[in-house]
């Protein structure tokens, strides 16, 4: 076997391995997405949901009483039950996705702000409007109780309800900006930030996305920002943030 044929053989083997890996990785759909599984449950009679939402009872056969208003049936069964929205004839799941659930800033440099982003996706196809709210369990906290404070922005006036410009590197703390579909108008541009509502301080969850209209794949981007001063004690700081997505009723 000549050296040239060995090289050719190596190249061919490498291409085969690459093709094999390519096929294996692409043919199995590993992408995690907000799956809307089907155009399911097309119902002839609005309100009756034959997928999730079938009401049942150990005492009564319900097939004909579901969603109907006949008083005789009500007095027999003692209940009526409807699922889904009257003007939307398909019951599509309400879904919420987030592209990155672990926001790891790593080691911070004093006076040099770090930012990380995550995409939020809401599909309220089966509902009318929706809202997404957010809160933090605590500020970024290290063992021993020291915290990286929630930012008050450059003016010192921003809170969990009021946005403000945070552009100076001499402004410290932790906060977020929203951009994209259905975000609060207070986030005028990417320099505007708010604090997270602090649940340990009994602050109310704050809206980060909302719409009164049926929405499919509404996408926004949340930018987390942190900046520390030289006075910040060294250590590991963590916290947890909860996003709550609820359709309108």
């Amino acid at each position: 076997m000549t050296k040239k044929s060995i090289e050719t053989y190596v190249v061919v083997v490498c291409i085969c391995i690459f093709v094999y890996l390519y096929i294996c990785l692409f043919s199995s759909p590993l992408l995690a997405q907000a799956v809307i599984e089907s155009q399911n449950y097309k119902v002839q009679m609005p309100n009756f949901n034959s997928g999730a939402g079938i009401p049942s009872s150990t005492n009564f056969k319900l097939d004909s009483s579901v969603g109907q208003t006949a008083p005789g049936l009500y007095s027999s069964a003692g209940f009526r039950i409807k699922s889904g929205f009257e003007y939307i004839h398909s019951i599509i799941p309400f879904s919420f996705s987030m592209s990155n659930h672990r926001i790891n800033f790593g080691s911070l440099t004093l006076g040099s702000p770090s930012t990380l982003t995550s995409n939020l996706t809401v599909s309220a196809g089966g509902a009318g409007g929706y809202s997404v709210k957010v809160r933090e369990a605590t500020p970024l906290t290290k063992t021993g109780g020291q915290t990286i404070i929630d930012t008050t922005c450059d003016s010192g006036a921003c809170t969990e309800t009021t946005a403000g410009v945070w552009a100076l590197t001499s402004t410290f703390g932790f906060g977020y900006n929203m951009a994209g579909d259905d975000v609060p108008v207070a986030f005028t541009d990417n320099t505007y930030y708010k604090q997270f509502a602090n649940a340990s301080g009994a602050e109310a969850d704050q809206v980060v996305m909302s719409s009164a209209y049926v929405g499919r794949n509404r996408v926004s981007t949340i930018t987390y920002k942190v900046n520390i001063s030289a006075l910040q004690p060294a250590g590991n700081y963590q916290n947890k943030i909860l996003f709550t997505a609820i359709p309108s009723f």
Binding site: L21, P71, R102, N104, S248
Partner: protein, 323 residues
Amino acid sequence: MKKLINLKFASFVVMFLFLSTKYYVLSTSGVFAQLSTSISPPITEITIAPGKETTQIFTITNDGVDGTATISIVPFNSIDELGNVGLDEKLGITNSPMFANWFSITSPTSIKFGEKFTVFGGQKLNIIVKFSPPKDVLEGDNYFTFLYEFEADGENSNDVVSTKTNTRIGSNILISISKDGQQQKTAEIVEFSVPLIIDSLSPLKFNVRIGNPGSYFFKPLGAISVKPYFGNKSTLNLAPLNIVKNSIRNIPCTNNEEIITCEYDNKIKIGIYKTTLKFSADNDGSNTTSEKITFAFPFSLTFVLLIIIGIYRKISHPIDKHY
């Protein structure tokens, strides 16, 4: 020399394949950091007699990474005129005994309210919840949100500075307690605003706010009809959105399952337009109506016409100069 080039080429190919494969694998693992949850149905409406029981299936899915979930049911209040909910978490059934005996999970039996359970990526679960309001409960409405909270596996305690995010997704439950199923619905028009005078080219928009001073939620079933002095009547269907007790809701219109602004879209409007709002609360037999009159006049067209006439006259009859 040629062998050396071949060797370099082979090395290049191997390096390229290695890097591109590595990049793909790494980028795929990044995608795995996604949280993705869904719930169905988005809303459940139950009318039930005290002491009776019924069940509902909630389908929850996890289309993201593996993790743990908890199920809870929390009362809510209407917080605005758009149908958004304000959760009263202090009265959640895992926090308060007030509603604890109203709900129970009948399947899977391993899942309890407020207790963590594992949900793998791609998993779908049917949670069957039994509703059984006690016999002595007062008639009227009670509103709740079924909450599915998800937390991805893995802790961030070793990270230097990091935030771990959890998601919570809800499905609303409207429960009307009624002994006979014949709830008395009370609707009132809080606002039905229509402009009195409009330009012929501007849109004719309607604002409808309906109040519910009663004890039971209802949907306004009806329409806005617009009758021009000359021409045919047009109808805009009101969106049958729930108006919960002691609340006001801004009611838009609906067209082909889409919520739209209530707007008469004829391009040119001239003359008198009579607009009628007519609806009933869940087809209860009694209609609530309101009528408004709008005058449409071609202000902008007249203005343009006057300018054109003025320019024409200036061109055709230039001003005489007197010396």
